[in-house]
Symmetry: C2
Subunit: 225 residues, 2 copies
């Protein structure tokens, strides 16, 4: 299979109501399938049966299986990289990092499929998003490493390798989505459980902030109005 690169552009031409509805239904179903079974383990037959439409109809909306996969991937990529962009050098490091971790944990809790799809793609050598990682992500990390380095220079936090710090935060937060099965088999709980989620987030925030010589603020879980 050819590995056409994925860009972040969302070519949203004018679509009919039906087209828009069906495309999103397909992409939603595809995300679930791809994230669980990987690219090869997913059949377009299965995706179409989940959406309730025929295989032929699905291929009316997307020209190929690869096209669906790439559309799903492009859809989640910018969402996935967004949280890090928010890191603000002007504000308090403890609050900024805690907020970042909170954001990532929220994504692991609410979009575990997206996290798993991303993990799957990376595990396989990132054949489709290589370019994006190499350019956009690399630049983003360089920029945010700089933010952390500024905090170090201003002696707001203790010296640490900023890149390693970012990687460890990713590792811990995404682990709760990607290894959800293992965690659930061992503890019987997952992030959908408020107590477990608080405990998990507290642990991550604590390790990170203590690691750079700061104190953990109290954690506040989202409260819906």
């Amino acid at each position: 299979m050819a590995h056409r690169p994925v860009s972040l552009k969302n070519t949203t031409k004018s679509m009919s109501r039906i087209q828009e509805k069906n495309r999103t239904r397909i992409l939603e179903a595809a995300l679930v399938e791809f994230s669980r079974f990987g690219y090869s383990g997913t059949t377009i037959e299965k995706i179409s049966s989940v959406t309730g439409m025929s295989k032929s109809n699905l291929l009316y909306y997307f020209s190929s299986k690869a096209a669906i996969y790439e559309a799903v991937l492009a859809n989640i990529l910018d969402i996935w990289l967004a949280p890090l962009k928010g890191l603000n050098p002007e504000k308090d490091p403890a609050k900024e990092l805690a907020a970042y971790i909170h954001h990532k944990m929220k994504m692991s809790a609410e979009m575990p499929d997206a996290s798993r799809l991303f993990a799957n793609e990376i595990l396989q050598g990132a054949p489709r998003i290589r370019k994006v990682l190499e350019e956009d992500l690399k630049a983003l990390i360089a920029e945010k490493s700089n933010v952390i380095q500024q905090w170090i220079n201003q002696e707001k936090i203790e010296p640490i390798d900023p890149v390693q710090l970012i990687f460890t935060i990713w590792a811990m937060t995404q682990h709760y989505a990607d290894f959800d099965t293992q965690i659930r088999l061992v503890t019987g709980l997952g992030l959908e459980n408020p107590g477990f989620r608080i405990s998990a987030e507290e642990t991550v925030v604590r390790l990170v902030l203590r690691g750079i010589g700061l104190q953990s603020p109290d954690i506040v879980l989202e409260t819906k109005p």
Copy 2:
């Protein structure tokens, strides 16, 4: 495909020299393929071509693709769970945890394929190792959580949820193997680089030990005689 459970037993009946040699060659090649492309993305044709033997011959040694996969998985499972077993409640927490992290990082550096295969299996819902995780792993974690809890009770370390602590250590150490592609695309480096490896291990040890109120000991990389 049927998901027959995998046990840890290694049914090593008496095998001829040829049989032993070929079986291990197959398992080695299969690990590389499965870890990179997943179960569905791997073909027995490809495995056999890597080993240099015919597909038919491969099926002489293993009755099916699933049998190969299960054999590979069973082979790495006990190796994978071994490090945690070493955690000794009698010894110094800082040294024990640092040694544990060192062991896990070493495995990520030297057996990234095994780590990725394991990650792949969990991502897909652990259909084959569900039983092992549910029983052996659960018991192991319960036991080692107890060790950590003892340290807390003896006020050798600060209070923390022991299970969360274990998960975060796994998350960080395995991340360097599973997300090696991403790390390499962004930094140009991987764990095979001594400087990067030291920096990574230092960061993980630091976050963990500081997180429970301890100081990091100096890290010593393995030196070969």
